[in-house]
């Protein structure tokens, strides 16, 4: 076997693997990503009934409402708009009123956000990305006590 055919074989193998990976990545980037939106952005955006999005914001004080069993609902706010979130599972340790959190789920037809995941960061000073800037603009941001 000559060096040339040898090289051609390898170029072929690399080409197939790369083409496969690129194809898979393009497909997966269409399916596997979700947009992270604030309540105002979610209301302004047109989101399909089955499209998964991430919704981030602050848990409004006094809005947490525990229903039967594991049902819980609360209101997320970015100080402009609010969205009601319903969730059926155990909330994370750091879930608190006034705390910045991220939820993942779909927007229901009645405007309630059906979350299947609720994330609160391990850091007590955590703010969802973008939230801090927004609150600073509005002057409601309290510099975390260091």
């Amino acid at each position: 076997m000559t060096r040339r055919t040898n090289r051609l074989i390898w170029i072929g193998v690399i080409g197939i693997v790369l083409a496969g990976a690129v194809g898979l990545s393009m497909f997966a980037l269409r399916e596997g990503i979700s947009f992270a939106l604030s309540p105002s952005e979610l209301k302004a955006a047109s989101v399909g009934p089955k499209q998964k999005v991430r919704l981030f914001g602050l848990v409004e004080e006094g809005s947490v409402n525990r229903g039967n069993g594991l049902d819980v609902s609360f209101v997320l706010t970015d100080t402009d708009e609010t969205i009601k979130v319903s969730y059926t599972n155990i909330l994370p340790d750091l879930f608190r009123e006034g705390q910045g959190i991220i939820t993942e789920g779909v927007l229901g037809a009645d405007g309630t956000f059906m979350a299947d995941t609720v994330l609160a960061k391990h850091d007590e000073n955590y703010m969802p990305e973008g939230m801090a800037e927004k609150l600073k603009e509005k002057g409601v941001w309290k510099e975390a006590a260091k």
């Binding site: 898979l24 391990h122 007590e124």
Partner: protein, 658 residues
């Protein structure tokens, strides 16, 4: 006083690193042996002074000296001593200091163990190591000084409760030994490019260092995964979180490097590619340590980040990664191409391994960085979740694992694929039997999981095909077979175990993903619930007081067929200093499977929410990693023996030192 001495020691280490950045490299250039040799003592000095500095910081933690800002922010006088010690690196500044200390350790190791390296190569390697040391020491001193003082405070703010765990004692040091271990292979690659020459002797030198780094990185990642699994109370062992990806990327390319260096060592081929991989692997390590730390990527488990450091970090990354790649582009053509081989051969199999691993690393990198790039271009925030990685990474791993048992059975230069296939018939049969068995037990359900199980078993059994062939018990009988096994080089065992470990991990992943069950329920004292085939009874609440936390837990008795098999005690802790609650999951191991309990909120009426997972074969995920690391260690000890033998009788193809 000791704190100030720690700071001064850091400055001295920096000064030494600056000297070592110039003198040995210049000495190698003009051929001055004294200048080249100076690196040995300076490298040792840097290690000693960085070590003193690290000890000074630890001393401040042990003394709970809250006049040191770093200690005040991350410690508490009530904390158990172990966590005061580990708290030293449970924060940005301290973890950076640990990182540099390990870098200095590896630089000192080259000085001590590199006695028979070619003089010039060695001086250049030590010079490159000093560039890194100087840069990161400067980074600590001027942007992340752990010794900063303040008017003393009465009490500290406590260490993040999530980090108050034995995991912090083991995971970061192991991971850093892995990350930073690749700094040596990087330094060797840059030195080779500077000199413009490279040969099989270079690979003989680089491979053990890559092996050491890989062993630690494998163990470190597995340890981190298990820590997240039991500490976070989410029951998951991998989240495709940027921090995890950051440690996984150098692992993927480091694994590729181990295999390509093997080709280079044995056959003098793939030189340019190996040098490139050495550069890329350490670049990914740097990315792992710093990009996440810089605040450019947000992750669920970074330390609070300071964006002002972000720019410095990006600049350092750009200089090292960009600089080394530019050097590669300019000098790579000076390195000669090596021996020829047919596509179906041991080399060919190793090249295929490299293609698949590098492509997999590229897709993981794409998914990790895509949100940053997307936001920079469109302004919209997105997240790339597990579905992306599962869709791209897994299809690349399947052909790798299918092909893996063939590799060691093929000969160098030109292999016999039919012969290899014949020797793997047994592995294929066992794999298919496993699939049929699983299908029989699980009736219904997807066919995907049983097929994946068959592939994992194929790899586990196939890994030992070479050993089985060498022993050939059937034709040679037991005693001859055993004698042959005893005479088999350790590297064959190393390969078998490392590959077997991959199969074990895969089996664990497939089984737990496909067959785990989750039960979420609210339970009052006295009530019982069924979960994962077990019956649990709530036996009431117990409150406890820890040294720096309060805890409340629920006693649960676990029954199987009416017999008590375990007592579970999941708790919730509250750390008053940080006003932070944490969950302490209760985990019970049955064979390789685990029953996992996490406590939720107390509900009005005395019930508590409870999450119970049945995790079949979950521990195989980590056992597999332990077996892989063991394989790496075998390979290391095996080559020491072999090299010692080689040194005793001069081999004809030994490369003379220049």
């Amino acid at each position: 006083m000791i704190v100030e001495l720690g700071h001064v020691a850091l400055l001295i280490a920096f000064a030494l690193a600056v000297i070592q950045s110039v003198v040995p490299v210049w000495g190698a250039y003009i051929g001055d042996r004294k200048m080249m040799a100076s690196a040995d003592s300076s490298a040792m000095g840097i290690f000693v002074f960085t070590g003193l500095s690290f000890c000074a910081l630890m001393w401040a933690y042990l003394q709970s000296d809250f006049s040191v800002v770093n200690v005040w922010q991350n410690s508490h006088s009530d904390m158990p001593t172990l966590f005061k010690v580990t708290g030293t690196w449970g924060n940005h500044e301290g973890s950076m200091l640990l990182w540099v200390l390990i870098l200095a350790l590896f630089a000192a190791a080259v000085s001590v163990l590199g006695g028979n390296l070619p003089e010039k190569l060695r001086a250049n390697v030590q010079g490159v190591q000093a560039w890194m040391l100087a840069t990161f020491l400067a980074f600590i001193i001027w942007t992340s000084n752990p010794f900063e003082r303040q008017p003393t405070a009465i009490e500290g703010q406590d260490l993040n409760p999530i980090l108050q765990d034995i995991g912090l004692a083991i995971h970061p040091p192991m991971l850093y030994l892995g990350y930073v271990g690749f700094s040596i292979t990087f330094a060797f690659a840059i030195a080779a490019l500077l000199e413009g020459r490279i040969d099989a002797a270079w690979a003989r030198w680089v491979r053990p260092w890559a092996l050491i780094a890989w062993v630690f990185l494998t163990a470190g990642i597995a340890m981190g995964s298990y820590w997240a699994y039991y500490e976070l109370g989410w029951g998951g062992w991998w989240f495709w979180d940027p921090v995890e990806n950051a440690s996984f990327l150098p692992w993927l390319s480091g694994t590729a490097l181990l295999h390509s260096a093997l080709v280079m060592e044995k056959r003098d081929a793939l030189k340019i590619w190996t040098v490139l991989l050495a550069i890329l692997t350490f670049s990914l390590s740097l990315l792992g340590t710093f990009l996440v730390r810089s605040g450019v990527l947000t992750s669920v488990h970074t330390f609070a980040s300071d964006p002002s450091r972000g720019l410095v970090i990006l600049a350092i990354l750009a200089v090292f990664v960009g600089g080394s790649l530019a050097l590669f582009a300019v000098r790579a053509n000076k390195l000669e191409a090596g021996g020829l081989f047919a596509p179906v051969s041991r080399e060919g199999a190793l090249v295929l391994n490299n293609i698949l691993l590098s492509t997999a690393a590229a897709t993981v990198l794409l998914g990790t960085l895509y949100p940053v790039v997307y936001e920079a271009i469109t302004g919209a925030k997105i997240s790339v979740g597990a579905p992306f990685f599962n869709l791209t990474f897994i299809p690349l791993m399947i052909p790798l694992i299918l092909a893996l048992p063939f590799g060691p059975l093929l000969a160098w230069k030109k292999g016999d694929i039919l012969g290899a296939a014949q020797r793997l018939v047994f592995a294929a049969v066992v794999g298919i039997l496993a699939m049929v068995l699983v299908l029989g037990f699980t009736r219904g359900g997807s066919i995907l999981a049983p097929v994946m199980i068959a592939i994992a078993v194929w790899l586990m059994v196939g890994s030992f095909a070479e050993l089985a062939q060498r022993a050939s018990f059937r034709t040679a009988g037991w005693s001859t077979g055993l004698r042959r096994l005893a005479g088999t080089p350790r590297s064959v065992y190393a390969t078998a175990f490392a590959h077997f470990g991959v199969g074990v991990t895969m089996l664990g992943i497939v089984v737990v993903t496909a067959y785990e069950t989750e039960t979420v329920t609210a339970l009052k004292p006295g009530e019982t619930v069924e979960a994962g085939g077990y019956t649990l009874r709530h036996d009431g609440y117990v409150d406890e007081q820890g040294s720096n936390f309060q805890s409340q837990g629920a006693r649960l008795t676990v029954f199987l067929d009416g017999e008590v098999v375990a007592e579970a005690f999941p708790t919730k802790r509250f750390y008053p200093a940080r006003q932070m609650p944490t969950s302490e999951a209760s985990i019970h191991t049955f064979g390789f499977s685990q029953l996992y309990f996490a406590l939720g909120d107390l509900q009005p009426g005395g019930a508590v929410t409870l999450r119970i997972w049945w995790k079949p074969y979950v521990t195989l995920i980590w056992y597999g990693a332990v077996i892989m690391s063991f394989g790496g260690l075998l390979s290391l000890t095996g080559r020491r023996k072999r090299l010692a033998k080689k040194a005793a009788k001069p081999s004809p193809n030994a490369v003379p030192a220049t």
